[in-house]
Amino acid sequence: MPSILAVDDSASMRQMVSFTLKGAGYQVKEASDGVEALAEAKRARYDLVLSDVNMPNMNGIELCKNLRQLGDYKFVPVLMLTTESAGDMKMQGKQAGATGWIVKPFNPEQLLSTIKRVLG
């Protein structure tokens, strides 16, 4: 089963995402900011990274840039969880190498259907 790295500084969002994905049979690892996520990504290889944008220490955009520098994560889908549907944030995400985005708020069904688009 594909493994997913879920990154968010909000514990409730992280729990919701993680619970939903585990319920659908994915393996999920949680990280609470970009620094933690990057370390985890170096430790093990994930099939998808789901990341919040606004986080302390290292934000989602920086995380994405850093992931793309790693050989293992050159083509791995990275989805940003963002409340900002504004074009500016999307451009920043894309320039950093993000695959796509999921606009908050989203419900578990939306999360799963979006994830299916990029996995497998």
């Binding site: 909000s10 409730s12 619970f19 990275v78 190498g97």
Partner: protein, 721 residues
């Protein structure tokens, strides 16, 4: 699949309240003169998380309100707007408002939105102010574009990806699969690949995408649905749409390309406007259908939330609301607990083995094992108590805001200094000390600190300082509230006490004694009762609250340089240092803190002034003598109290001598509530179970004091001449 989101609510509320606390403290650190980018960022992140979580978990009122706040913060963060003091005030009010809303929602009540609406208007007014908003032109453009899209026959999509497409983790194959999954029965997807962009083999970069495709969809499908598939790549790729059967002219293609970009704007626009619709609808569709149908679900969602919360939520879990408090424990503490339980298990199995075939030759090992068990148990007890310990910063955190607001209201410049914020104390004690502390700080600000003019006149710094300090001392925590104001006005206090008959007209008191007067019931020194301190709650209530926690309060004051209130509290309420005493065949426990001394009664010091109540002269002071066997109606011998053992205890600033038959040991006892296990008994504050399994009552010293007052005895307050 359906997932019950309410299971995440508790965590959401906890982290939101934490977020609000962070916002508040950071806002207080923010001033228009020096805007620190990281501070603004932290505030923004907290607001942003609350908004995101609230939206996800269905609290639309909260997320909509936070959105306004976030928008203004974002403009400030991006440097589009300069921070003004009024903004900070507005943000602070919003924090209060959000806290109230979240509290209501947590209790399954519909929040009061009137204040939120009020604040929202202010935000909108500010936001409209200078920066021209762009949404206006975005709003009307996309509607006709999407509305005209309901073409039934099918579409031809020319998809020419950017060569860097793969580098962002996008994969054309998965997009086509997604498109395939959108098709209904009877529809068909035909894909033609165009390899004309492929370079010569030696020039071929393996990580680039050279292929392009023509996708032909036949059957009923909306253009908007197809667009969602390419939503993430539309800006970098060349995507053109053509209705099936229309001729592909060069002209058409170029306008269509522009149209595609336009449409992407529109889809992002509709996403933001119909955030709520996304939640409300149950479809598996990630993106949004069309602008036209969005408003209806939005409204339905908004109105349905409070109703649903009010009607169905309380029914399944009625007892769960306010009292269900939780505690955050650092992982270190949990680890040390687990470690200790491990050792306990080892000791237990060692003892168990020893017990299986025991003979006297192994007595030494048994004793060793038992002493190890004792040590394990003590360590375990200490660790468990530590779980309840929290840094006092939780109680201090509200003061920066309080001092700021009060200072502004009174027109006084105040600097708040907090020290020893990491000093730990029991969670229950912390919760109960909050209100008395607020009262003391208010009092210091209102009565303690002088007005700015007076301070300047007396040569002081015009900014007053209030210091909160906490530290451990022995088994107690000491909290000090210090101000550098005028100090207590002794003449005024004494005068007032005399006016009220609290002190006899010609009685002379030392400074110490005058200071203590402010803790008497019905005492207020302010010339004008202000709405800040004069809320009908006096220092007497503060003192009573503190003595309910087995603590004490005293005041030190120096004329002209300020006053200091010193509160001493036990670290925990669950365990008490007790003195075990025997009265007849019963064992009682006195709180060790209340014991002044233990003496042998001597006949010549006894005095039966009032007849029924014997008193004793102890160093210029008369103290009443109490027999527990009488108070608790034990079978009592009718002998006199001559030559008995007397324990002098102090409660509510009054000394009592209690006659006991024997002093036993001192030990820490775990307090069990009598009310919960039996019923309230006056004169007894609780019970504990001793090592031999018997129950011992813990004596409530001030309760005993009240009991003898009721019996018409003299409380022993007056001084000997």
């Amino acid at each position: 699949m359906s997932i019950d989101l309410s299971q995440f609510h508790q965590v959401f509320f906890e982290e939101s309240f934490e977020g609000l606390d962070v916002m508040e403290s950071e806002l207080l650190a923010l001033s228009p003169e020096s805007v620190d980018a990281e501070t603004v960022n932290t505030i923004f992140r907290a607001a942003h998380s609350i908004k995101g979580g609230a939206g996800t978990f269905g609290f639309m009122q909260v997320s909509e309100f936070t959105h306004q706040l976030e928008t203004l913060l974002d403009e400030i963060r991006a440097g589009q707007r300069t921070l003004e003091k009024s903004h900070v005030d507005l943000f602070l009010q919003s924090v209060d408002c959000l806290r109230a809303m979240l509290t209501s929602l947590k209790d399954h009540e519909a929040p009061d939105m009137s204040r939120a609406e009020e604040l929202k208007k202010q935000f909108i007014a500010i936001l409209k102010g200078e920066v021209a908003s762009s949404p206006a032109n975005e709003a009307d453009a996309p509607a006709p574009e999407t509305a005209a899209d309901a073409g039934p026959e099918g579409w031809v999509v020319r998809f020419i990806p950017s060569t860097d497409l793969l580098q962002t983790g996008n994969e054309p194959f998965r997009m086509f699969r997604e498109l395939q999954s959108l098709l209904e029965d009877g529809s068909q997807l035909q894909i033609e690949v165009d390899s004309s962009r492929l370079p010569e083999f030696e020039n071929l970069q393996p990580e680039q995408c050279y292929l392009s495709w023509t996708l032909t969809v036949t059957g009923a499908i909306n253009k908007a649905d197809i667009e969602t598939v390419f939503e993430w790549v539309v800006d970098e790729c060349d995507i053109t749409y053509r209705r099936l059967g229309e001729a592909a002219s060069a002209d058409n293609a170029s306008t269509d390309n522009a149209g595609a970009n336009n449409a992407s704007d529109s889809s992002s626009e509709s996403e933001s406007s119909s955030d709520a619709a996304n939640i409300a609808t149950d479809t598996n569709n990630v993106t949004v259908a069309s602008v036209a149908e969005a408003p209806a679900p939005v409204q339905a969602q908004i109105t349905s939330i409070p109703v649903a919360d009010a009607t169905q939520a309380p029914a399944p879990k009625p007892a769960k609301s306010a009292d269900q408090s939780s505690i955050r424990v650092s992982i270190d503490k949990v680890d040390s607990l687990i470690n200790m339980v491990g050792e306990l298990v080892i000791t237990q199995s060692m003892l168990g083995q020893l017990g299986q075939d025991f003979d006297m030759s192994r007595l030494a090992r048994l004793q060793e094992g038992l002493s190890q068990l004792e040590q394990n148990t003590r360590e375990l007890q200490e660790s468990v108590m530590k779980i309840r310990m929290m840094p006092i910063s939780f109680a201090f955190s509200r003061f920066p805001r309080l001092v700021r607001d009060l200072g502004a209201q009174l027109g006084k410049k105040v600097n708040l200094v907090m020290q020893g914020e990491n000093t730990e104390l029991d969670k229950t004690v912390m919760e109960k000390i909050g209100d008395p502390l607020v009262h003391l700080v208010r009092n210091s600000l209102d009565h303690g600190l002088e007005t700015t003019e007076k301070r300047i006149a007396s040569g002081k710094n015009e900014t007053g300082t209030i210091t909160l300090n906490a530290f451990h001392q022995g088994g107690n925590i000491v909290i000090e509230v210090r101000d550098d104001g005028a100090g207590l006005n002794e003449e005024k206090i004494l005068q007032k006490a005399r006016d009220r008959g609290l002190v006899a007209q010609h009685q002379e008191l030392s400074s110490e004694e005058i200071h203590q007067l402010i803790f008497l019931p019905g005492f207020s020194t302010a010339d004008v009762v202000s709405d800040i301190s004069g809320r009908g709650v006096g220092m007497d209530v503060v003192r009573r609250n503190i003595s309910e926690l087995n603590g004490t309060i005293e005041v030190k004051s120096n004329r002209g340089t300020g006053s200091t209130f010193v509160i001493r509290l036990p670290l925990t309420l669950a365990i008490l240092d007790g003195q075990l005493v025997r009265v007849r065949d019963q064992t009682y426990i006195f709180p060790l803190v209340s014991i002044v001394e233990s003496i042998q009664l001597q006949k010549q010091t006894l005095n039966n002034i009032t007849g029924s109540q014997p008193v004793m002269k102890l160093r210029e002071e008369y103290i009443p003598i109490v027999r527990l066997d009488q108070i608790f109606h034990l079978r009592h011998r009718n002998e006199s109290v001559d030559d008995a053992m007397l324990v002098v205890v102090e409660g509510d600033n009054e000394k009592i001598g209690i006659v006991v038959d024997d002093l036993l040991g001192q030990q820490q006892v775990v307090i069990k509530s009598l009310e919960a296990n039996y019923q309230k008994v006056s004169g007894v504050s609780g019970a504990t179970i001793l090592g031999d399994g018997t129950v011992a009552l813990i004596i409530d010293i001030s309760g005993i004091g009240k009991k003898i007052e009721h019996r018409g005895a003299q409380p022993g307050k007056e001084q000997a001449a």
